[in-house]
C-alpha cells in the first residue's frame, strides 16, 4: 500500500496541464460557464478534441487495435481528473471516449466499429444517451419507447426526457423495447439524430442552458444493422456502460479547484481569518479528498483487474457529498457569486445540484451498495 505517483504518472499529469495551459483560450471560463452541453462548449469541444487527437491523447486509453495507445487505466483517469477540474473542455465528448467507445468495443460488430470509431477518434461527433423517459427515470427497466420490428429494421415511437447534449447530438445511444414488458425486450439502437421523425426540445433548467432536453420519436426508422449486441442483451450492456459512467466524472476535482479559488477570494476580501469560515472550508476540503481516495480505490481495482464490487456506488456517494459541501460553503459564505459576480461559481453550482441525480440517482447507489457491498437482505416485494 502506498499513495504516491510514479515519475511517469507525474510527468503525464504535467503534460496534460501544459496542454490545457496552451490550448484553452483566454475566454475559456466564459465558454465553460454553461456546462458541457452548452452550444459554446460543444462547439469548442470539436476544436479541443481535435487537438487532443493530434497529441494522441483523445483515445489513448483505447487498445492499439482500435487506434488507441493502450494508455494505462491510471493515466487515463489522471487525464480525466485534470480535464474535469479545468471545466471539461472535451464537452459532451468525454462520454464518447469514456464509455460509448468501450461499449462498442465489447458489444459492437465489425461494421459498427468501422463506422463509429473513426468519428469518435477524430473528435467531431456528439453522442447523447437516450435512457430516461417521463415514466422511467431511476426505474429504467420500465421504459416505454417502442421499437417495432419492420422490414429491414425497427420503427421507433416514444419520447425521452432529461437527455443531456441532445440539442447538438449527431448520434443517440437509444434504449427502446420490442415488447410491452420485461428487461429482455429492451434493445439498444445506435440512432442517427438526423433521422426523419426525431424532434428535440430544450428544457429550461436550473443546471444551465442546453443541458437537458426532451427527444420525441415519431415513426423513426432505424436500420437493423444499428442494433447493438443481440436482442435480449441490452441489460447486460447497460450495466457495463453504467459501471464506466458512475465514477467516470471526477466531480471532486472541479469542486476542489473551486474551493481553492474560494479560499483565495475570501483571503483577498479579508474574510479568511474568520475561524468559522476556515472551519467550514476545512470540512468541505476533507469531503473532497475523501471522495478522491474513494474513487482512486475504484480506479485501483480496475487497474489491477480485480473483480468489480459495489465500491463504485459507495464512491459515488462520497463524490456527491463533496460537491454539495463545496457548493453549500460558497453559497453561504460567498452568496455574491450566485448574484452574478462569479460565473464559474454559478457553473459549479449548476453541476453540483445535479450530482446526486445525473448518472443514476444517489438513492439507487445506496440501494446497490446495501445489497452488493454490505450484503444486506433485499426488501421484500409487496403483494398487489
Amino acid at each position: 500500500m502506498e499513495f504516491g505517483w510514479s515519475p511517469e504518472q507525474t510527468a503525464h499529469r504535467e503534460n496534460v496541464r501544459a496542454l490545457l495551459e496552451r490550448e484553452l483560450p483566454a475566454d475559456w471560463d466564459d465558454i465553460a460557464v454553461h456546462g458541457p452541453g452548452s452550444d459554446a462548449q460543444t462547439a469548442f469541444s470539436k476544436i479541443f478534441c481535435k487537438k487532443l487527437a493530434d497529441e494522441g491523447l483523445l483515445i489513448s486509453h483505447w487498445p492499439k487495435e482500435y487506434g488507441g495507445n493502450d494508455m494505462t487505466v491510471w493515466d487515463q483517469f489522471l487525464m480525466g481528473e485534470e480535464l474535469w477540474a479545468a471545466g471539461e473542455p472535451r464537452g459532451p465528448q468525454y462520454m464518447n471516449v469514456n464509455w460509448i467507445g468501450p461499449v462498442l468495443m465489447r458489444y459492437g460488430n465489425e461494421a459498427q466499429k468501422a463506422e463509429y470509431f473513426p468519428q469518435i477518434a477524430s473528435g467531431s461527433v456528439i453522442w447523447c444517451q437516450g435512457f430516461s423517459e417521463p415514466s422511467a427515470g431511476s426505474d429504467l427497466a420500465s421504459l416505454r419507447t417502442k421499437a417495432d420490428k419492420v422490414e429491414g429494421g425497427y420503427l421507433v415511437n416514444g419520447a425521452k426526457i432529461w437527455t443531456s447534449y441532445a440539442g447538438l447530438a449527431t448520434h443517440c445511444f437509444l434504449l427502446a423495447r420490442t415488447a410491452s414488458a420485461g428487461k429482455g425486450a429492451i434493445v439498444i439502437l445506435l440512432l442517427d439524430m438526423t433521422s426523419p421523425g426525431v424532434q428535440v426540445k430544450q428544457i429550461p433548467a436550473l443546471i444551465g442552458e442546453g443541458d437537458i432536453h426532451e427527444v420525441f420519436f415519431t415513426d423513426v426508422f432505424v436500420p437493423a444493422e444499428n442494433l447493438l449486441g443481440e436482442e435480449g442483451q441490452a441489460w447486460e450492456i447497460i450495466t457495463f456502460a453504467l459501471q464506466n459512467e458512475r465514477i467516470g466524472i471526477p466531480r471532486y476535482a472541479f469542486s476542489r479547484r473551486m474551493l481553492d479559488r474560494a479560499a483565495e477570494k475570501l483571503k483577498a476580501d479579508g474574510r479568511f481569518e474568520n475561524p468559522v469560515v476556515r472551519d467550514r472550508a476545512g470540512r468541505a476540503l476533507a469531503l473532497c479528498e475523501a471522495a478522491r481516495l474513494m474513487v482512486y480505490r475504484v480506479v485501483h481495482q480496475r487497474a489491477t483487474k480485480a473483480p468489480q464490487d459495489a465500491y463504485g456506488n459507495l464512491a459515488r456517494w462520497a463524490i456527491i457529498q463533496a460537491d454539495h459541501a463545496v457548493n453549500d460553503f460558497m453559497t453561504e459564505f460567498m452568496p455574491e457569486g450566485l448574484l452574478g459576480e462569479d460565473q464559474m461559481q454559478i457553473a459549479h453550482h449548476q453541476r453540483a445540484i445535479a450530482a446526486g441525480i445525473a448518472s443514476g440517482a444517489a438513492e439507487i447507489q445506496l440501494n446497490l451498495a446495501a445489497r452488493r457491498y454490505l450484503d444486506l437482505p433485499s426488501e421484500p416485494r409487496r403483494g398487489l
Binding site: 502506498e2 472550508a281 476540503l285 476533507a286 485501483h300 451498495a369 444486506l376
Partner: protein, 309 residues
C-alpha cells in the same frame, strides 16, 4: 498509488493476526464500560510490533496498519501513541505505555493509569513527564478507554522538548486519531451489520428495510473514507493530510455512532451488547485536539494559510 498490502505489510499483519488469535480475545462478558488488555500489551511488546517504525525498512504507514488492526479489537491497548507519536520525540521508547495530553496538566488523559510517560502539549511547549507509581488517579467514565488524572502535577518533573516540536506532535496525534477511528468504525459497523441481518421485526430482518440500509451504506462510506484518508496521512506524514484525515474522522463520528446505536435499539444501550467498546472509544477521540473544528481549521491553515492578503 496502490491500495493493496505489500508483501512486507501482509507479513506483518499476518504475524499480528496470529498473535491476536493466540490470545483468544473476546468482548468482555461482564457489564463493563471498558476493557484494557495488559496481556495483549505484553505480547505486542515482546513481538516487536510497537517499535515497527524504528525498524529498518518500515515506516509510519506500517505502524498505522498495526494500530488500525488493534483498534478493531473489543479491548483497548495503548498502541497509537507508542507507535505513531512517541518515537518522534522520545529517546527511550521502552518507557511506555505513553499517554498524551493537550492543555492543563490536571486534565484526564487516556491510558494515564498505566502510562510510564506522558507527553503534554501545553500550547507553548511540548513536555515529557515520567510517571512514577501512584501518581495517577483513575477517572470513572463512559468512554471505553482507561482514563486517569495526575494527582499532583506540580510534584512531577518535566522535560521541555521545545515549542518547535508542537507542530509535529499535533500532526502525529491527528494521524493517530484517524487511524484508530478507522479501526473502531470498521468493527462497530461489522457488529451492527451482523445484528441487522439477524434481528427480525415485522417478520423480516431489520436490515432489509430501506430506511436502515441507506444509513448503513452512509456509515460504511464514512468508515472507508476515514480508512483511506488515515492511511494516506500516515504514508505522507503531511500537515494537510493529517488534519484532513482527523477532520473527517471527528466530523463523521457523531452521525456514525448515533446511527449505529439507533439500529440496535435498546440492545445497543446495554453493556452486555459490546457496541460501546468501539463507539465509546470513537466518542472519546471526538474531543481531542479541539475536536472537528480544531482539525478543520488546521486543515484549512495547512492547505491555504490562515492570513488574509
Amino acid at each position: 498509488m496502490d491500495f493493496d498490502f505489500s508483501e512486507d505489510q501482509a507479513a506483518i499483519l499476518s504475524g499480528l493476526e496470529q498473535l491476536i488469535s493466540s490470545l483468544n480475545i473476546e468482548a468482555p462478558k461482564d457489564a463493563v464500560f471498558s476493557a484494557y488488555s495488559q496481556a495483549l500489551d505484553n505480547e505486542l511488546t515482546e513481538g516487536g510490533f510497537l517499535d515497527i517504525t524504528q525498524q529498518e525498512g518500515f515506516g509510519l504507514l506500517d505502524g498505522a496498519l498495526i494500530v488500525e488492526r488493534l483498534a478493531r479489537l473489543p479491548v483497548s491497548v495503548e498502541a497509537a501513541a507508542s507507535v505513531l507519536i512517541a518515537p518522534a520525540f522520545l529517546e527511550d521508547t521502552t518507557r511506555r505505555p505513553v499517554a498524551i495530553l493537550q492543555g492543563k496538566l490536571t486534565k484526564p488523559a487516556r491510558f494515564l493509569p498505566m502510562a510510564k510517560t506522558l507527553l503534554v502539549d501545553t500550547d507553548d511547549d511540548l513536555l515529557r513527564i515520567e510517571i512514577p507509581e501512584g501518581a495517577v488517579e483513575e477517572v470513572e467514565t463512559l468512554f471505553a478507554y482507561p482514563y486517569g488524572c495526575l494527582k499532583n502535577p506540580k510534584a512531577l518533573s518535566s522535560v521541555s522538548l521545545g515549542a518547535g516540536q508542537l507542530a509535529k506532535f499535533r500532526r502525529r496525534w491527528r494521524i493517530a486519531i484517524a487511524v484508530e477511528a478507522a479501526g473502531l468504525m470498521q468493527s462497530a459497523l461489522d457488529l451492527v451489520l451482523e445484528h441487522v441481518k439477524t434481528r427480525q421485526q415485522f417478520g423480516r430482518p431489520i436490515g432489509s428495510f430501506q430506511a436502515i440500509q441507506h444509513r448503513l451504506v452512509m456509515a460504511a462510506e464514512l468508515g472507508q473514507a476515514v480508512r483511506w484518508l488515515a492511511f494516506k496521512a500516515a504514508w505522507s506524514d503531511d500537515e494537510g493530510d493529517a488534519a484532513i484525515a482527523a477532520t473527517f474522522a471527528q466530523d463523521s463520528t457523531p452521525k456514525f455512532v448515533t446511527d449505529l446505536h439507533q439500529f440496535c435499539g435498546a440492545m445497543g444501550l446495554t453493556l452486555e451488547f459490546p457496541l460501546h467498546h468501539w463507539t465509546y472509544r470513537l466518542r472519546a477521540l471526538l474531543g481531542e485536539l479541539g475536536g472537528s473544528s480544531g482539525q478543520a481549521i488546521a486543515a484549512a491553515d495547512a492547505v491555504w494559510g490562515s492570513k488574509n492578503v
